[in-house]
């Protein structure tokens, strides 16, 4: 049997499972506490936050059911905690940080709150949380301006600081935060929610310590890491050795975007994986630079998705994985590169790695998803009161081997939610005109990519707004010959009827007048396999459900329907498909 021998005593697999469950439920409990007591729509409704529990060495030992792309960033910041504070932490300390440069942050709105947990004066572990805050200052409400060129323009930087020292709040830090945000109620409320979650973790870890004693718990935690590592190595060992390279693109910024390549070179050598981003575009004078914390997290997440087993979500599974990126490139920018809108690059890193892996194990990969969250941020004054609108919209998966992509779901690297339309309309002077699926937008394939979402807003007040999107010029990729998903669109329809496509990542903000409409259409998911091999009944089902149109069925799948518009005309379909096949050769 598998027993990690760490010390003289054997590891009992049942006790190991018991401890693993107890840790996982604590991390989930943290997540629940954040959600229910948070203030901002981004945290409470969209659920853009993560929770984890770490051991005394700062290694993650359990993750809450939150966002993969944030979760895998804890190892880096915990490294800084060790380096900066070493053994000087005291009971009742609480740390705060958001700075990507030298503190392990991602971008300024993502605020980490970390709490060392002591049992009998001995450091026993850490509670770790990160949440996307409504506003940390900077040139625009929401702190994400694509046109920012250096981080100083983006808002308040918090290097790793003590927010509480031995149980006493550091009032000056609180006051600095309060004075540097446009939304102090939301920001301070969400910080309290994060601290409440840390306190819950403290209780949880203490009761485990009381039950097993520190020596035994440490031994089992080591075993848990070893166990996860062994499982991950098994997964990797089953993959053929080799070097697999793929390039995906960010459309680029501004009115005349220049595509920015993200190059992932995945080297599988026995039971290790190395991911190298050499060849990726240089950092740019816009805020889409992506501090290494996020690409690293996206890479860990992509590799973790390879495994179809229930690997414990502790740091041990990262041991066989290395991630490298040259300094000064888009995925490892140098100070003072601006990085407010870096998320889009993080999701593209996941995509590039997925495409490289699809060359080796297509049956475990997934076609390109919508591209990550699309952001509409704006604000203004309505009936004498200022408002800040933050809409972060996701929605589509690419196809998998044997399965269509999913529509109405969060990007696989993020487990985000959507804001209820009725809440948005209650809180903000906007009206949502449409929220739904776009027919024919899924990448064609034997298995169809998920459909794109469309969400359309009418401004009920004059406002200034900005956007962050992507996947218009480089739509989501297919796998094994599957087609790309439909491109995204940012359509601005003014009250007088004039229509205009706004850039995916504009280097400016726009004025909307009351009555103007903004229609946000995400990209469709990439397909899997040859569309001409899609079973006709699946196409008929899609037609029946309004997910493809008659024209789309013929154009994308070579499926011809009888005059009733519902029954597949099989002979005509076979003929059309044969002709299509012939054209290819």
């Amino acid at each position: 049997m598998k027993t990690a021998e760490t010390g003289a005593e054997k590891i009992d697999p049942i006790t190991l499972e018991v401890i693993r469950n107890a840790l996982a439920s604590t991390a989930d409990e943290m997540a629940l506490i954040v959600m229910r007591s948070a203030y901002s729509p981004v945290v409470r409704d969209i659920m853009d936050y993560s929770t984890a529990l770490c051991d005394a060495q700062g290694r993650v030992i359990a993750q809450g059911l939150t966002l993969p792309i944030q979760l895998c960033s804890f190892p880096r910041i915990m490294g800084f905690v060790r380096e900066r504070y070493g053994s000087t932490l005291k009971q009742g300390d609480v740390l705060i940080a958001n700075d990507p440069y030298g503190s392990g942050g991602q971008h300024l709105p993502d605020v980490y709150i970390l709490k060392p947990i002591f049992v009998d004066d001995r450091l026993a572990g850490f509670a770790a949380t990160v949440a996307h805050h409504t506003d940390l200052g900077g040139i625009v409400p929401g702190s994400v301006a694509i046109y920012a060129t250096e981080i100083q323009q983006e808002g308040l930087r918090l290097p790793l600081l003590k927010l509480y020292e031995a149980g006493e709040p550091a009032e000056s830090v609180f006051r600095i935060i309060e004075a540097n945000t446009r939304a102090p109620v939301e920001v301070l409320g969400d910080i309290r929610a994060q601290i409440a979650a840390c306190n819950v973790a403290e209780e949880g870890l203490r009761s485990l310590m009381a039950r097993y004693g520190p020596a035994m718990l440490d031994r089992y935690i080591d075993a848990l890491h070893d166990h996860a590592e062994a499982m991950m190595r098994d997964v990797i060992r089953a993959l053929p050795n080799g070097i697999y390279r793929a390039t995906d693109y960010i459309d680029g910024v501004g009115e005349n975007p220049v595509p920015l390549p993200i190059v992932a070179t995945v080297t599988i050598a026995d039971d290790t994986i190395d991911i190298d981003f050499t060849g990726t575009a240089d950092q740019v004078a816009a805020s889409i630079n992506c501090p290494i914390s996020l690409p690293e997290s996206a890479a860990f997440c992509a590799i973790r998705c390879l495994s179809q087993q229930d690997i414990p979500n502790c740091e041990g599974y990262l041991r066989p994985i290395t991630v490298r990126a040259p300094e000064g490139c888009l995925v490892n920018p140098r100070y003072p590169a601006a990085c407010g809108a870096r998320g889009v690059v993080g999701y593209r890193v996941f995509d590039a790695i997925m495409q490289a892996l699809a060359q080796v194990v297509p049956e475990r990969a997934i076609g390109g998803s919508e591209g990550g969250p699309y952001l509409l941020a704006g604000g203004g004054v309505h009936e004498g009161k200022p408002f800040v609108l933050n809409e972060m919209v996701v929605g589509t998966w690419g196809a998998r081997s044997g399965k269509d992509g999913i529509e109405g779901i969060s990007n696989p690297a993020a487990n985000l939610s959507n804001q209820p339309i009725e809440m948005v309309e209650t809180d903000m002077p906007v009206e949502v005109l449409r929220y739904g699926l776009v027919p024919d937008s899924g990448g064609a394939g034997e298995f169809r990519g998920g459909l794109a979402f469309v969400r359309e807003f009418r401004f009920l007040s004059d406002a200034r707004f900005t956007l962050r999107g992507d996947r218009r010029d480089h739509p989501p990729f297919g796998i094994e010959g599957g087609g790309t998903g439909a491109p995204s669109a940012h359509l601005f329809i003014q009250r007088d009827g004039t229509q205009r496509h706004l850039p995916t990542m504009p280097m400016e903000s726009f004025n909307a007048r009351r009555g103007d409409i903004f229609r946000l259409t995400g990209a469709g998911g990439g397909g899997y396999g040859d569309a001409l091999k899609r079973e006709p009944w699946r196409v008929a089902d899609d037609l029946h459900e309004g997910k493809v149109t008659l024209a789309g069925a013929e154009r994308d799948y070579g499926v011809i329907f009888a005059a009733d518009g519902a029954t597949v005309d099989l002979p005509a379909t076979q003929q059309a498909r044969a002709a299509r096949m012939g054209e290819r050769t």
């Binding site: 948070a38 993969p68 009725e422 009206e431």
Partner: protein
């Protein structure tokens, strides 16, 4: 000879239908009869007919039937509900399919999303639009509704849910649309609307609730009709009442209208039985622990009141906590007793994977084929087989000797499938399996206690269900709970709860006022309207309200938060409600805000018509032969342990280890534990401090 009358509680499970009879002088008797899944009403009628004969009485002496059923839940789990259409606001037919996007697992690229209960081609849009304050922005286009009705007719839709944006703020459009549908569609088509079923903000949750309601409405309606006909055919014409998930009972007619409120009726009944058990006993905090064949369920009861929630997902597989792990099922936002349910029951399958990770559940052998030792064809080792190996349960037969077991087969399965591959001995393996199951079950208990900021160590665990008393003391030990109570009729406790329930219905009215705009006069007006709503509805259902209790509550949150906490509204003074909210917030989340404004979101009213019934007493237990057997405990190893009956206990504590065997369940008292019988005949188990 005195002609008695009888009230009957009926709880239908997958294998057995549990029946509890309460005679008008308070005498209680219990029965377990086989369920008839092809038509549950048949089994009920047969059982009642037999009872009438046994008691030498006449069917008209059955004066009340209270019922809990899984027909609603099963229709969803098996996708056997009605062909359901949705009528919705133009632009929003996909709200139901988009859901809230989140899913309950990470890193799983093979995930499958639950399919919508109303297919996309049956989700039809009409032109109409309301603002968030209920003002009409676009009037309802009646021609669109008639056109939709035509398509529903063509597609032979059996039920239609109506859900328009912001209809919670103004039901007029939905009411008008329903009237048109009623004109246009066959009488047999079931209709319901969001503004009636759930007049609350959040379009997805409301739409999901009303679609679930429509999906199972015809199933419940047909079941109710079949039951009424069956009962009439044997001469039983008394009113039939149903338990709803909120723990109250309602007339069959209301159950048909609010079909979605039936999905947790069985588990709710068990919790109500617990609450009644302790009412008046000064027991401030009780955790109910109900373990059957498939799942273990826990609920918190404070000061005699079960904790409630309005967030529930049906069909989500097994919910650990219904609050965070979202997206796996179909949300129903209605009053529910907050029961957390986890996939660890007697039938839970024990398995090891390639990496020697051991798991117990959530896969279950269910009632059929069931555990290996049942001898019904089950091949995979289950938790029950581990109980058997440890000697926790009788290895010859269950249910008072009526259900023979194949003990050797059960032990062999556990040995071959788990012990040998792990290189452990069989007893140690069985012990480990039990520990693992107990750990899993403690998560159900934690979901209703520590997750809500309550320390379970200050609670008493009340254990019931076929398997609850077998493991209750172990679960208590793992959580540091010091006292466990095993009530009379523990094995059929939910059916007993049905007869102890009051008529209870909840009413909600959203507050239209912004924070800071609600003065005490406005508060009084809001609650006044709510009271009128309730009186009208209940009077219409034929209830006499003179003895009714009206309990008011308020959903409050800080301005900016999205989730409310509910506090009792004993006095309609806003300042007092706000202070209660601050306290509850601090208790739940560990902090409060002095600066932020408190906002009233909903006014709630629960109307309760207290049950009028004589005190209950139990008939004598049927005689049962009991033999001492080998039982393994961690502390003492394997030894011969006494097996006794409940009646062998008395008021003085008896030291464990020993086993109490009864007709409907088994209760294990471990070393270091003592058990006594209290005045009411409950087994009261004390654990040593850890």
């Amino acid at each position: 000879m005195v002609q008695h009358s009888y009230r009957i509680g009926i709880d239908i499970g997958g294998t057995f239908t549990d029946i509890v009879v309460a005679r008008d002088d308070g005498l209680i008797e219990t029965r377990k009869v086989p369920s008839t899944p092809d038509d549950y009403s048949r089994g009920i009628a047969q059982a009642l007919k037999a009872l009438v004969q046994e008691y030498s009485t006449t069917p008209d002496r059955i004066t009340g039937i209270v019922h809990a059923t899984t027909v609603a839940t099963n229709a969803i789990l098996e996708y056997k509900g009605a062909r359901t259409g949705l009528l919705t606001t133009e632009g929003f037919r996909d709200v139901l399919e988009m859901r809230r996007l989140r899913i309950p697992v990470l890193y799983d690229l093979q995930y499958d999303k639950p399919k919508p209960l109303a297919a996309r081609h049956l989700r039809l849009e009409v032109r109409e639009r309301l603002g968030p304050d209920g003002t009409v922005r676009i009037p309802l286009n009646e021609a669109d509704v008639r056109e939709a009705a035509r398509r529903f007719r063509e597609d032979k839709v059996e039920a239609v849910a109506i859900s328009f944006l912001h209809a919670y703020a103004n039901p007029d459009h939905e009411i008008a649309a329903e009237a048109i549908l009623r004109e246009e569609l066959d009488e047999s088509v079931y209709t319901c609307r969001g503004s009636e079923i759930l007049p609350e903000i959040r379009e997805y949750e409301r739409t999901s609730t009303v679609v679930v309601n429509a999906y199972i409405g015809p199933v419940v309606r047909n079941y109710a009709a079949a039951l009424t006909t069956r009962l009439a055919s044997i001469g039983v014409t008394c009113p039939v009442e149903m338990m709803h998930s909120g723990g109250g009972i309602m007339r069959l007619g209301s159950a048909v209208k609010r079909a979605a409120s039936l999905v947790e009726s069985g588990p709710a009944a068990g919790v109500i039985a617990c609450a009644r058990l302790v009412s008046g006993s000064n027991e401030p905090s009780i955790i109910s622990f109900d373990m059957g064949g498939t799942t273990a369920k826990a609920a918190l009861i404070e000061d005699g009141e079960p904790a409630r929630t309005t967030e529930y997902e049906v069909g989500a597989g097994i919910n650990l906590s219904s609050k965070l792990v979202k997206g796996g099922g179909y949300p129903i936002k209605m009053p529910f007793i907050d029961v957390s349910e986890i996939g660890a029951g007697g039938g839970s399958i024990v398995a090891i994977d390639k990496m020697n990770q051991v798991s117990v559940g959530p896969q279950s052998a269910g009632a059929y084929p069931g555990p290996v030792c049942y001898g019904l064809g089950g091949r995979q080792a289950t938790l029950t087989d581990a109980f058997l190996t440890l000697g926790y349960i009788n290895d010859v037969a269950l249910a008072g000797g009526t259900f023979p077991l194949q003990a050797d087969a059960g032990r062999a399965a556990l040995n071959d499938q788990v012990a040998r591959p792990l290189g452990l001995d069989l007893t140690k393996t069985a012990r480990g399996v039990l520990t693992l199951a107990v750990t899993t079950m403690t998560r159900a208990v934690k979901a209703v206690s520590t997750y809500r900021g309550r320390d379970p160590r200050h609670s008493t665990l009340v254990a019931f269900g076929g398997n609850g008393p077998v493991v209750a003391a172990e679960v208590a030990k793992a959580l540091g709970i010091r006292r466990v109570v095993v009530p009379r009729a523990a094995g059929v406790f939910s059916a007993l709860g049905l007869l102890r329930s009051d008529v209870e219905q909840e009413f909600v009215r959203p507050s239209r006022r912004r924070a800071g705009e609600l003065d005490d006069a406005g508060l009084a007006e809001l609650y006044g309207q709510l009271t009128e709503d309730a009186r009208r509805v209940l009077t219409l259902e034929g209830y006499e309200l003179s003895g009714a209790e009206f309990r008011y509550a308020a959903d409050l949150r800080y301005v900016g938060q999205a989730y409310e906490l509910t506090v009792p509204a004993r006095r309609l003074v806003f300042e007092e409600l706000a202070e209660l909210f601050h306290l509850e917030h601090e208790r739940t989340y560990g902090h409060r805000s002095q600066k932020d404004q408190v906002h009233l979101i909903n006014a709630r009213l629960t109307v309760r018509l207290p049950l009028v019934a004589p005190p209950q007493r139990f008939g004598a237990a049927p005689p049962q032969r009991r033999v001492d057997r080998q039982v393994s405990f961690e502390e003492t190893g394997t030894a011969s342990i006494a097996v006794i009956g409940r009646a062998d206990l008395d008021a003085s504590p008896r030291r464990g280890p020993f086993v109490i065997e009864e007709y409907d369940c088994t209760c294990v008292i471990g070393p270091g534990q003592t058990a006594r019988l209290d005045d009411a005949g409950n087994i009261d188990i004390a654990l040593e401090a850890a």
